[in-house]
Structures are given as C-alpha cells and as structure tokens.
C-alpha cells in the first residue's frame, strides 16, 4: 500500500513538474507562444469558454452522441456475444473476423458512413458503435466462457430458472470481464466520435477544435483541447478506479 502511494506521489510530482516546465519554457520564450501557449493560459481559456456558455451546444451534441453510441454498442455487443456463445457453429465462422477486427483502423469507414448517412449525428453514432461494439462482444464471450462449469452444475442441482441462473451465477462470475468490455467501449466510443467530429463534421467539440486550428485561434484551440482531454481522462479514470475496487472486493471475498 505504501509503495502504491509512493508511486502515486511521484507520478503527481512528475506530471506537475512537466506542466511547470512547460509553463516556464513558454513564459521565457524557449517555446514559441505561436506553437504552444502556457498551461495557465490553456486553463484560463478553458474556464472562459465553458463558463461563457458558447460551448453548451457542442458539449450537449458531443456527449449525447457518445452516450448514444456507447449504449447502442453495449446492447448490441452483449446481445451479439450471447448469441455467438449459444451458436457455436456461427461462432467458429465469425471468430477470425473478431480476432482481426481491431487490426483494421475502423476510422477509415467514416467517410463511407458520411456518404451513406449524410453529415450529422448518424455517421458519428455508427462509427462509435462500429468501434466499440466488438469489444463488448469479445468481452461478453470471454466472460461467459469463463463461468466455471461447477457453478452451472450447482445452479442445475438447485433447479434455478434461467433468469435466476443468469442473475445469481453467471453475472457475478463474469462481471470483471464484462466490466473491462464496458471500459473499452467507453473509450472507443469517445475516441471514435471525437475523431469523426474532428476530421469531418459541422458540430461538436471535435469540430470546434479543428475549426479553431484552421482559424489560427490557438488560445481557443488549447482551451477546448484541455477540456476534451480532461473529460476523457476523468471518465476513463472513474471506470479504472471502479474496476480496481471490484477486483479487490472479489479477491478479499
């Protein structure tokens, strides 16, 4: 425990030191302010932009798109995983596809999706689902595979109904793997949607960043960037900590 705490302290000190170093380099002119603005300016710009309300529309747009993609990916990925778990023949056929799915940069489908569905929410949601759903499917499969046969036998001996078997036996046992699928799905949906907005879109936070870049508004760009990255880090961090708690609670019984 103390070792973990020491690592945490060193990590915080390291990150703080880097931010400070960047601040000093920017203030003394070692780093050109046209390239990178000082971190304190980034933070000030972020606060200005968030509190002025000009971002509200973009925030709602982006996060509702991410949430929609995440929910759709989790639902379709879980259903797909259960289906493949039941149908072993189908699973054999689809297995190579799942195994090499993440070697293909899903993002290259985005221009096709835009051409197919028009510029707007639909191609972004589809891109998010395309990049997140297979992760959920894979982790559902591995979660279901990992349920120990003894527990299922136990359920049969106690004549549990399928619903109760699922709720009392399968879910608790598969939980860690399912959870890691959720974690991946969130970060993939986030990355997909924001990348899509950035490259080709007319709304959302990703678009605002690329717009600020193209109109040479560095201050706005860094503020927005910091905001998006902070939200992403916090969202992923919450799931990371939660996962650690789950794992520790299991290991202590």
């Amino acid at each position: 425990m103390t070792r973990r705490r020491a690592a945490l302290l060193v990590r915080i000190a390291l990150l703080a030191g880097l931010v400070l170093l960047l601040e000093i380099c920017c203030r003394t002119g070692i780093v050109d302010p046209l390239t990178v603005i000082p971190p304190s300016e980034m933070f000030a710009s972020m606060i200005e932009r968030v509190s002025s309300g000009e971002l509200d529309e973009g925030i709602i747009q982006t996060f509702s798109t991410i949430a929609l993609a995440f929910v759709l990916a989790v639902v379709s990925g879980t259903l797909g995983g259960v289906l493949l778990h039941r149908q072993s023949r189908l699973r054999d056929i689809v297995d190579p596809l799942l195994a090499s799915y993440y070697s293909v940069p899903t993002f290259i489908f985005y221009p096709l999706l835009v051409a197919l569905l028009g510029l707007g929410k639909a191609p972004l949601v589809s891109l998010g689902v395309l990049s997140a759903a297979p992760a959920v499917m894979i982790s559902t499969l591995s979660g279901l595979d990992g349920v120990s046969p003894v527990l299922l036998k136990l359920a049969r001996v106690h004549r549990l109904s399928p619903a109760r078997t699922l709720w009392w036996i399968v879910l608790p046992d598969a939980l860690p793997r399912l959870f890691s699928g959720l974690k991946l799905a969130l970060s993939y949906a986030l990355i997909g949607v924001i990348a899509g907005e950035f490259i080709l879109s007319g709304t959302g936070l990703g678009y605002s960043i690329s717009y600020a870049y193209q109109s040479f508004d560095n201050r706005a760009m860094y503020g927005l960037m910091l905001f998006v990255l902070l939200v992403a880090v916090i969202a992923n961090g919450v799931l990371y900590v939660w996962e650690g708690r789950l794992a520790r609670r299991r290991s202590t019984g």
């Binding site: 070792r3 973990r4 020491a6 690592a7 060193v10 990590r11 390291l14 990150l15 046209l34 390239t35 990178v36 054999d92 056929i93 689809v94 190579p96 596809l97 195994a99 090499s100 993440y102 070697s103 293909v104 940069p105 993002f107 290259i108 489908f109 221009p111 096709l112 999706l113 835009v114 051409a115 197919l116 970060s187 986030l190 990355i191 924001i194 990348a195 950035f198 490259i199 080709l200 990703g206 960043i209 690329s210 870049y213 193209q214 560095n218 760009m221 927005l224 960037m225 998006v228 990255l229 992403a232 880090v233 992923n236 961090g237 990371y240």
Partner: protein, 260 residues
C-alpha cells in the same frame, strides 16, 4: 493398434482443416454478400459493390498517381513503426526491469492510451509543420504506448531467476537486455508489435485525412469529397486487406516464437 490411432488422428486433423476452410469460405461469402447488399441498397452513392470496386482497383493499380500516394503512406508508416517499436521496446524494458519507474509510468501510459489523441493533432502540426514529420510523429504517438505496455508486462512476468542469473554472470545492462530479456519476452514483444502496427497505421492515416495533400488517407477523403465512390471504396478495401494480412502474419509469428 498405434497405426490405427495415428490414422484416426490424421483424419481428424484433416477434417478439422476442411471445416476451417469451409468456415473461411462462408465468412468471405458472408462479407461479400453484406457488401453487395449495402451497395445495392444505397444504389452506389456511398459504397461501390464488390465487382465494380475490384475493376476500379485494377485500373487504379495502373496509374502512377496511386503509387505516389501509396508510397507516401508506406514511407511515413514505415518510419513511424520503426520509431514506435524501438522506443517502445527500450522504454518497456526499462520500465519492466526497474519496477518503481514502471509503477509510476503505467497509469500515465494507460491514460494516454485511452484519450482521443486526434485532438492533439493540431499541436503536432504546429510543432512539426505540415508534411511527413507530423504524420510520422502522430503515428508514433499511437503506436508507442502498446509496444511499451506489452514489453513491460512481458518483462515483469519473467521468472526472476533469469534476471538473477544475468546478475550472477555479471552481464552489463545492455547485454542483459539483448541476451536475456529480449529473447525471453519475444512472443509478447511480437504481440506488442502487432498491436502497435495497426495503431501506428491508424495514426498515419488520420494524419493524412486531416489537412494533407498526399497519401492513402488523403485519397480516401478526396474520393469522398469528389463523389468518386469507387475510389474511396477501393482505398478502404486496400487498407483493410493490408491490415488483416499484416495482423495474420504477425499472429503466426507470435505463435511460432511461443512454441520454441
């Protein structure tokens, strides 16, 4: 008796192989059918059907323009991949051997892995300028972390006796890495290379899709912007086939190194 069981085993292997070949054919047909269906459903406005795409691809291979773009992408990718894997390998070995440094670095790396790095691309462009080096840097940003994490994990899970033996033999740190650590972690390193390969490719392609004038990523966006559906479909097909081929090759390689 033993002959019979050997024959049995052989026929079983042959049957398994036949089933797998059948599965692969079924999967290919399934994908082609979905592709064709989407092509028909959209009447070719977004995705060209398989035959048309293949015909277009064949013509495309005859043009110098295509090879220029492909060479630009491959060159940037090659540089980025070499840099990402070498730096990642070195960092991974250091973080793996020196536990505390690894413990400090791991959450930072994992955090960096999950953020939408595309938002950082303007910074890369501001630092490196438009052109090759920005693409390469962005590719390295994508490919570096998985390589580091995989190598670090591999070193950490090595039996401690290996490192102790190296110490007893008084091998220098560099020799310990080259003679002991690297060969022992080879399967995981190959897996790291595999993940790093596809992410580096993603980074380079995204770099080309945003404010670039060369490369396959540019060709893809350009094809869409000019409403040249067969072109964008053909480029997507090339990238998908390349990615899957490279991935399959490296999976084989990982399995080979693991069996030794």
């Amino acid at each position: 008796m033993s002959d019979v069981s050997l024959e049995d085993a052989l026929s079983k292997v042959a049957r398994a192989r036949r089933v797998r070949a059948l599965d692969a054919t079924l999967l290919t047909l399934l994908i082609l059918a979905v592709w064709q269906a989407v092509g028909i459903w959209t009447r070719g406005v977004a995705i060209a059907p398989p035959l048309q795409t293949l015909a277009y691809l064949f013509d495309l291979f005859g043009t110098a323009m295509f090879w220029n773009h492909a060479a630009a992408t491959l060159y940037a990718f090659f540089l980025a991949f070499v840099l990402a894997s070498l730096i990642g390998l070195a960092l991974g070995l250091i973080f793996g051997v020196h536990r505390f440094t690894g413990e400090v670095a791991e959450p930072i790396l994992a955090g960096f892995y999950t953020i939408p790095k595309v938002t950082l691309y303007p910074v890369v462009l501001l630092i490196f300028g438009l052109g090759l080096s920005a693409k390469v840097a962005f590719g390295v940003m994508h490919g570096l972390v998985p390589m580091t994490l995989f190598t670090m994990g591999a070193v950490r899970s090595l039996p401690p006796v290996l490192i102790r033996t190296a110490k007893v033999l008084r091998l220098s740190p560099v020799r310990t890495m080259l003679w002991v650590l690297l060969p022992a972690c080879l399967p995981d390193v190959v897996n790291g290379l595999r993940i790093s390969f596809s992410l580096t490719m993603l980074g380079v392609l995204i770099g080309e899709m945003f404010s670039s004038q060369r490369g396959l990523g540019f060709l893809l966006v350009n094809g869409m912007a000019q409403n040249n559906v067969p072109l964008s479909t053909a480029v997507v097909l090339i990238i998908v086939v390349l990615a899957i081929a490279a991935n399959t090759l490296m999976l084989r390689l990982a399995r080979l190194t693991a069996h030794r």
